[in-house]
Symmetry: C2
Subunit: 134 residues, 2 copies
């Protein structure tokens, strides 16, 4: 297992658009699979205004995890930080539109921005163990 630099971790996040949003509500954990975009080293996802996910994330601590299989293993990036619902910004919507598949419509939506206080990237390299040592 290799720990990645923050730069490498953000670069990997920028390559993908599907991740896992982790919440806690009344000390009960929950995970939402969501599409996302990276915007200036923040993470944007969409939620419908007034929906449960909007209420559960705005101004809350969240964790966001993204992983992907590669030819020689798996990487995982975990960002922890605060979420904040944004006011409508047509320029922002346009800028990150490509990250959000048109076949998962959420309308009307608001963006929630995760500002990461920490980020951790790890690469798990697949290999055939040469020998079982114990």
């Amino acid at each position: 297992m290799t720990e990645l630099s923050d730069d490498s971790a953000w670069k990997l996040l920028e390559e993908r658009n599907f991740g896992h949003l982790g919440l806690s509500h009344n000390d009960l954990p929950d995970i939402y699979p969501v599409n996302y975009a990276v915007d200036h080293r923040t993470i944007l996802f969409r939620t419908a205004a007034g929906e449960k996910l909007h209420e559960l994330t705005d101004n809350r601590h969240v964790v966001f995890e993204v992983d992907s299989e590669t030819s020689n293993g798996t990487w995982s990036v975990i960002a922890k930080g605060h979420a904040k619902a944004l006011t409508h910004d047509p320029e922002l919507v346009e800028r990150v539109a490509d990250a959000f598949p048109p076949w998962i419509p959420i309308e009307p939506f608001v963006f929630v921005r995760i500002t990461a206080e920490s980020i951790r990237g790890r690469q798990f390299t697949r290999h055939v163990p040469v020998a079982r040592r114990r």
Copy 2:
């Protein structure tokens, strides 16, 4: 988006061995990517005895999410329930050994079993929108 039956959701879980464990600790959410096995409609993952993950999951509420891309979209299954660390059981270790890649050694490990109180499977089907209706 299609809601799947519990049977279909378990069947999908059995096809994979990599998922996302969601925890809450002091009302802060966390996500751990882990390998897992399905054993008689429970979920088993490994942790080192005495490690943080062991302490944070034993006798706790957890959420477990698994997803996969398919040729026509993505599915996601979310199980919620209680976790419980197991005592060593060589027969169980042998039975589920194939689910755990030898290149991610965790030794010595204990199994933690998630008994699901609810399971939800969803299929998101990719399609080209015929027209934007609004």
